[in-house]
């Protein structure tokens, strides 16, 4: 066995000692800075977060109205009423309503702080020769002012702002059915027809539940809007008087 051991060690040793492994050399020269920038560039979050921007919030109607009211109040404080609009009052046909009440209520409406006075004007009733004529008319006489006027509703024809007596006394079925009050209807109809004289056409409901513009035909249909007897902020202009928004 000793001979076997000798042979084994001699053979293995001779074979193995002939081999001498070298130390490996490495040649990697990658810049660590590049590795860092490559890793940093993998991030998705910065670009995802950069997309977050404060959206513009559409101004709700109530805020528009509040702002308009505040603006009007501020303007009223800054610029006192500088212009006087005159009007005379007459009746047409058989009048059963109180004419005195009509004159008083119409004047109160025209000079209400919520109304057209926000244009910076005041309305003065004169005996004759006013800038326009406010008429309380029997329903059947409405068409005598213009073929465009009908017996069912109030109307404006030229310088005449004509309030239909039937409407003055009873508003309209659609208004009443929707629960509107007569006093609000009277405010609305005076403002609406005067609005035509000031230069306004008809408006439509701006959205369900929103206050109707006074120039909307609320006598006929509220179109989903809420009653509103007064001009909205966006209606505060008059081509007749040369007043822009």
């Amino acid at each position: 066995m000793c001979m076997m051991c000798s042979v084994t060690y001699a053979t293995v040793g001779a074979g193995l000692l002939a081999f001498s492994p070298g130390v490996p050399s490495t040649t990697a020269t990658t810049s660590p800075q590049t590795l860092t920038s490559q890793v940093a560039s993998l991030q998705r979050l910065p670009s995802a977060i950069a997309a977050f921007k404060m959206p513009t919030l559409t101004e709700p109607q109530w805020l528009k109205d509040q702002n308009a009211t505040e603006l009007a109040a501020a303007q009223a404080k800054k610029a006192p009423i500088s212009r006087v609009v005159t009007y005379d009052v007459m009746t047409k046909g058989a009048i059963t309503a109180s004419f005195a009440e009509f004159r008083t209520q119409a004047n109160a409406t025209l000079n209400d702080g919520r109304g057209w006075t926000r244009l910076g004007v005041s309305f003065h009733e004169v005996a004759s020769g006013g800038d326009f004529t406010l008429v309380l008319s029997e329903a059947s006489q409405m068409t005598s002012f213009s073929s465009g006027c009908g017996v069912d509703y109030s109307c404006r024809a030229g310088r005449y702002v004509i309030i239909n007596q039937d409407r003055w006394q009873g508003a309209t079925p659609s208004w009443n059915n929707a629960g509107g009050s007569l006093s609000d209807y009277r405010h609305m109809v005076v403002n609406h027809e005067t609005g035509h004289w000031l230069g306004h056409g008809h408006a439509s409901c701006s959205g369900a539940g929103q206050p109707a513009q006074v120039m909307q035909q609320q006598s006929i249909d509220l179109q989903g809007c809420a009653f509103n007897a007064w001009p909205t902020a966006s209606e505060l202009w008059s081509s007749q008087l040369g007043i822009t928004v």
Binding site: V7, T8, L16, A48, I49, T56, L57, W62
Partner: protein
């Protein structure tokens, strides 16, 4: 007289048998020595080549142009492949057959060869551990960016869409909280969760003020929302700081792995 030829034959047979055993032993031992020699001889070039090839793989990934959003997944996939390669190879690179392992105990050259190999593998494994952290962070980063991308970005929000905005941010905050993330990502996750909730609360305040038609509260809540959206950038900053720490560790590990 009769026993002599018999004895002579027996002695001849015995001599032949010895000769045969010795010859076979020499052949077996010689083959074993040759195999051992070749195995040990191949170890250094094998692990050197493995190391160089690995470094080349890393370099080719690193040398890619800084990726655009579309190319990010390519770089991510390559880094993951490198990590998997190291994981798969780490136990085999310095391995020698158990029949010849004992030789490193008696031959210092073999011992040194294996030690050199193991040192390199250890440094490469350290690098892989850092790379795995980056990969885990990258996965979390992608997941959070995915959650945030589900919040629709709108330049204008009407009053009837405010409720949906609040709900979207509420869901976002909840989804962020539910994320299972790596340790390195936890701070980014917490920051994102906090700021998502702040945006949700700002929307809730806007809705409450809108319903109450309270102008002062509405405008204040609107300012809070703008501030909350601005503050969301803190998530980016936190994430970038976390990545800088991880990248620093990766750099160190890479230097060590590439120069050992």
């Amino acid at each position: 007289m009769m026993r002599l030829p018999h004895l002579r034959r027996w002695r001849t047979k015995k001599a032949n048998l010895y000769a045969l055993i010795i010859t076979l032993s020499i052949l077996i031992i010689g083959s074993y020595a040759l195999w051992s020699r070749q195995t040990w001889a191949q170890l250094t070039p094998y692990y050197t080549q493995w190391h160089q090839s690995l470094m080349l793989d890393i370099r080719s990934t690193v040398d890619l142009p800084v990726p655009t959003a579309k190319e990010q997944s390519v770089v991510s996939a390559r880094l993951k492949a490198i990590s998997l390669r190291i994981e798969g190879d780490q136990h085999a690179v310095c391995g020698v057959h158990s029949l010849i392992q004992w030789q490193q105990n008696i031959i210092p050259t073999f011992k040194n060869t294996r030690a050199d190999c193991q040192k390199i593998v250890a440094s490469v494994v350290d690098f892989q551990k850092q790379l795995a952290k980056i990969i885990a962070y990258d996965n979390d980063d992608q997941a959070l960016a995915g959650i945030l991308s589900t919040v629709p970005q709108m330049s204008e929000v009407a009053e009837d869409a405010m409720e949906a905005r609040m709900t979207a941010w509420d869901n976002t905050a909840k989804n962020i909280e539910k994320m299972k993330v790596s340790d390195a990502f936890k701070l980014t996750q917490q920051t994102a969760s906090k700021h998502s909730m702040a945006i949700k609360i700002a929307w809730a305040d806007i809705i409450a003020a809108h319903q109450a038609k309270d102008k002062q509260k509405y405008l204040a809540a609107q300012n809070s929302l703008a501030a909350a959206i601005d503050d969301f950038n803190e998530v980016s900053n936190t994430s970038q700081q976390s990545v800088a720490v991880l990248a620093g560790d990766l750099e160190k590990a890479f230097r060590s792995a590439s120069t050992d």
